[in-house]
């Protein structure tokens, strides 16, 4: 069975309009970044209480989306599930674009981006006990490993791509576990401090990235007039459902452990605090319960539309999970001294979305979209028209 890949034609009017829009938004985002760089972070919504804002949220979200995509490599090369081979190139390229976007996002977040090179002075100028310094190794090596893996896929080197696929998969898990540890190791922030954090991040990564892949497959196939096979999408949906159950379990186990008396103030804040509406409505109901219902539903779960709807909800829900973890976790007031701390030092933090921060966030996503469709146009990422077995496609999307 040989698979052929091709690139997107990209000559239609719609394509050029899309490219122009994405490029325009990217430029706007860059202008936003320049404003924040020149004027300082006062243009963003961050403060001394909530020092991390949208760029960090987007960074950890993107790392998750990227890392989880390598589960496909594991499934194809180790478990021998060849039916997902047609989308592997696209998935790996998407992963590379996303990790690049994540690294860019971190660079935009730091106060003095011109000193970002210090993060890469391993063992010499940087402090290797810091999760940021370790993650600099994780992210950059992951980027390299994923790139080599994609090259082996392009070269059709079966054995080599098996090895590199495994390297990239393991490194992806390490990468996202390390990202979780950024939060899990902070003893000062009760809502964050947890040994489950890395595993929760990995599970969220697997769930959200496969959901994103479903959406990307369906959208790109539709726009390139390809026919996606129904069972490919539905089987991905089943996988997503499984991971989503795992994610729910980890989140609840984490909250329950920390919700037990007496050290439960942080957990109580996350579950019933002033921001908990975000958690219950966007993360739990929209991002987890409804998608699970759809995916396990005997009828909706077998339809592409159902799987895609659930996937979109999951992709958005996991974003809110990250948002909630960072913003609400930081807004939780530190108790310096027993009693009610008066004034601003005891108040719950707040996070306003400023125009500059919104523009930077949108620009980041637009830039990745731009890179992705440029990749589709210039690299042979998409499967050629026919299904892998040459069978007639069952259902056009």
């Amino acid at each position: 069975m040989s698979l052929t890949f091709t690139s997107m034609e990209g000559k239609s009017r719609g394509f050029y309009i899309l490219v122009a829009i994405l490029a325009g938004l990217t430029v706007l985002g860059f202008i936003g970044f320049m404003i924040s760089y020149i004027e300082g972070h006062q243009t963003l919504g961050t403060s001394n209480i909530i020092p991390w804002g949208m760029t960090i949220i987007i960074a950890i979200y993107l790392i998750g989306l990227s890392a989880g995509l390598h589960i496909l490599a594991f499934l194809i090369h180790i478990l021998g599930r060849k039916e997902w081979k047609p989308v592997i190139r696209m998935a790996v390229f998407l992963a590379i674009v996303l990790i690049f976007g994540a690294m860019l996002s971190i660079a935009l977040d730091i106060g003095r981006p011109e000193k970002a090179w210090r993060l890469f002075m391993f063992f010499y100028l940087n402090n290797m006990t810091s999760m940021f310094a370790m993650n600099a190794i994780f992210y950059s090596c992951y980027f390299v490993a994923a790139s080599i893996y994609l090259m082996t896929l392009f070269a059709d080197r079966e054995k080599l791509s098996k090895i590199m696929g495994m390297v990239a998969f393991c490194w992806a898990m390490l990468t996202h576990g390390g990202t979780g540890l950024i939060f899990g190791l902070i003893v000062a922030r009760e809502p964050w401090f947890s040994s489950l954090r890395p595993f929760e991040f990995i599970m969220a990564a697997l769930t959200s990235s496969l959901a994103l892949l479903v959406v990307v497959i369906v959208v790109t196939f539709k726009f390139t007039q390809r026919q996606a096979r129904n069972e490919l999408v539905v089987s991905l949906g089943k996988l997503v459902a499984g991971f989503l159950c795992g994610l729910l379990l980890l989140i609840w186990v984490g909250e329950l452990i920390h919700g037990y008396i007496p050290h439960n103030a942080g957990s109580a804040f996350m579950l019933a605090g002033p921001f908990s509406g975000l958690f219950w409505i966007f993360q739990v109901i929209l991002g987890e319960v409804i998608p699970l219902f759809i995916l396990f539903h005997p009828r909706f779960g077998k339809k592409v539309k159902g799987v895609v709807t659930a996937s979109i909800l999951i992709v958005v829900g996991v974003f809110f999970e990250r948002f909630y973890l960072v913003i609400a976790g930081l807004a939780y007031p530190l108790s310096y001294f027993p009693g009610k701390i008066e004034g601003i030092y005891g108040a719950v933090g707040f996070f306003p979305m400023t125009p500059v921060e919104s523009v930077i966030s949108v620009g980041l996503f637009a830039f990745m979209g731009f890179l992705f469709i440029m990749g589709l146009k210039n690299l042979q990422l998409l499967p050629a028209e026919e299904g892998p077995e040459g069978t007639p496609d069952q259902k056009a999307i």
């Binding site: 004027e39 300082g40 972070h41 006062q42 961050t46 403060s47 001394n48 209480i49 020092p51 991390w52 977040d109 730091i110 106060g111 003095r112 000193k115 970002a116 210090r118 993060l119 100028l125 940087n126 402090n127 006990t129 810091s130 999760m131 940021f132 310094a133 600099a136 950024i182 190791l185 902070i186 003893v187 000062a188 922030r189 930081l330 530190l334 108790s335 310096y336 001294f337 027993p338 009693g339 009610k340 701390i341 008066e342 004034g343 601003i344 030092y345 005891g346 933090g349």
Partner: protein, 223 residues
Amino acid sequence: MVIDLDKCVGCQACTVACKVENDVPHGSPEEQKWRREIYWNKVIAVTNGKYPRVNTELIPMPCLHCDRAPCVPVCPAKATYRREDGIIMQDYRRCIGCKYCIVACPYGARSFNYKEQEEKPYHRQDLPPDRSVWGPWPFPSRTHGVVEKCTFCFHRIDQGIKEGKKIGKEVVPACVEECPANARFFGDLDDTHSEVSRLLSSRGWLRLREELGTQSKVYYLLK
């Protein structure tokens, strides 16, 4: 450092003295509202009980210079480090502004420069930096995008040691010197004859958030 809560009247003289000594930006009500004002030393008020049985404690909080400081291991750029004498320092030249230390500090002792400040030098003009030492000084000026915090007025201590003065008696940080109630004491905790050691052995004391195991070096004498 030892702070006597029985003597503290909450006059904020320490906050003002610190701002003057270290040229910490004055800030504005707007910045205060957005919680972007820079404080190296702050005084918090903690209320317990209900009217008419209310008790308000005033807790002055500089950086607590923890022995096991959570901000030091998280800094990726070696910008935050512990000096041999126990002072936790911030090297502004190395700081990349990732704000991880603000996140990790359990006491909110750190502030970020959210804008280009008018107060450029990091210390008083009449205390010229020693350019022969490759340390955190000399700093040309304050820029936005880096984190800063209390240094226990290390420039005074270093100068005092060089001049052979007695640290804790002749040379103390600005907040200790300016306290009108003499509520603050500074000295060597390892020296059993120092004033701070004597106070700690004679009175009941506590350290903030002791349960985290930070072993902070600011002790509060109880009422």
